[in-house]
């Protein structure tokens, strides 16, 4: 299994000279399993350049896993080139809601006046799936989705193949209302997704000084993510969902702090950046 990051910015795309090293596109990760199944994690603006690279592979099956429907995880979908190709077998997975189907919720964005074309008129005619409670398979990968602590229906994904797991929890506030070190792991949101993962891509949006003014917004401080990764015994923490106000230099200060706090696996924390490749084979 191999992963490539196409977008790791949180909240709002932030292109510019101050974000060029880590990138300004919002959340999108390409995942290829050993049998070449293609899974795309989230549809932030990073999915646009990814889509262009896929045009040479069509026709093919593509699975898009949405963690939730906040705009920074969805706004690239309409600009994903394969969406407009009728020979694509496109499956979109996301968290269930008791009120509206996934298709109807996404159609609120992919329809006028927010978007010029109605979802029902899109040539690929995507198939929509609520993520199941039980694990399921795509090609050679086993997928687990679990609700996690964030604003609105949100899931984290665990993708496993050949005994190696990648956990993806880009928006997450596991420390809301609890002291992460004072409770047993089964009382920590996201533990069922991230435990013993080879790689964890996780929300690391705030500094410790910023977090107290943003409690309940659904994101983590650097201290929270370092603690969460340690509790979950992950080997490699990839700090993800960078704050749009943080420059490259500020992100590197955040990384230094994460390394100071790190008590987890030997690989230590790293910052996600556009073009980053992760080999889990």
């Amino acid at each position: 299994m191999r992963a490539r990051i196409w977008g790791c910015r949180g909240s709002l795309a932030s292109p510019g000279p101050e974000t060029v090293r880590y990138g300004g596109n919002t959340s999108c990760v390409e995942l290829r399993t050993s049998d070449d199944s293609l899974i795309i994690l989230d549809a932030g603006t990073g999915i646009r350049p990814l889509g262009l690279t896929l045009l040479g592979e069509l026709p093919r099956t593509i699975h898009i896993f949405l963690t939730h429907l906040h705009l920074d995880h969805l706004e690239g979908l309409g600009f994903f080139s394969p969406l407009w190709e009728s020979e694509v077998d496109l499956h979109i997975w996301g968290p269930p809601s008791p009120v509206r189907t996934l298709e109807r919720r996404i159609a609120r964005y992919l329809s006028p006046p927010l978007f010029p074309i109605h979802l029902q008129d899109i040539p690929s005619r995507p198939t929509f799936h609520d993520v199941p409670d039980d694990e399921w398979k795509i090609g050679t990968a086993v997928i687990r989705a679990r609700p996690i602590s964030h604003r609105g229906p949100t899931v984290g994904y665990r993708i496993s193949e050949n005994g190696q797991s990648l956990a993806y929890i880009p928006d997450h506030e596991p420390a809301l209302g609890i002291d992460l070190r004072a409770v047993e792991p089964e009382w920590v949101s996201g533990h069922g997704v991230a435990h013993d993962a080879r790689v964890l891509l996780h929300d690391a949006q705030y500094t410790e000084d910023e977090y107290p003014r943003r409690v309940g917004w659904g994101h983590s401080s650097v201290a929270h993510v370092a603690t969460f990764a340690e509790i979950c015994s992950v080997q490699q923490l990839v700090m993800f969902h960078h704050d749009p106000l943080h420059t490259d230099d500020q992100l590197e200060v955040l990384l230094s702090r994460a390394r100071e706090l790190w008590g987890g696996g030997s690989a230590g924390p790293v910052l996600a950046h556009e073009g980053m490749e992760l080999d889990l084979s």
Binding site: I148, P153, G177, I178, S189, H191
Partner: protein, 135 residues
């Protein structure tokens, strides 16, 4: 792939709420097993959650010797608001007299309600309570 146990997110968030409020609060899983009560509840029960630990419905239902405050009659576990909320999947409320592990009798008002996750999955129940006067 072996699944690591994790409580349902709704229970995790409910525990976070319980640990953040001054209102005594008691939390059970879908089987009715006590999985947490907060410090304000400890003051009324006369025993910390760490000492009590996880308890089955029969154990927590009788542990504090609940009685009807009007008749003085001993109440079975099934008569408690949380048991009603779990069995009938609806809120319930009543006055009780209990005897804490510290030996003190207290009259308490209890309101209990079931918890359902977003997909209407039943995931447990909550009881909140407060002292309602001298027993």
């Amino acid at each position: 792939m072996k699944e690591q146990h994790e409580h349902n997110l709704v229970l995790i968030l409910a525990r976070g709420l319980a640990s953040s409020i001054a209102t005594p609060m008691f939390l059970v899983d879908p089987e009715g097993t006590l999985v947490y009560y907060n410090e304000p509840a400890e003051a009324i029960f006369g025993e910390s959650y760490a000492e009590a630990g996880e308890l089955s419905p029969d154990e927590w239902g009788t542990r504090f010797s609940p009685e009807d405050p009007n008749t003085g009659e001993q109440l079975g576990a099934q008569a408690l608001p949380l048991s009603v909320a779990l069995a009938e999947k609806k809120p319930d409320h009543r006055l009780l007299t209990i005897t804490g592990r510290d030996g003190k009798r207290r009259m308490i008002a209890v309101t209990a309600f079931p918890l359902f996750a977003r997909t209407n999955e039943f995931v447990g129940g909550v009881a909140i309570f407060w002292e309602a006067g001298e027993a």
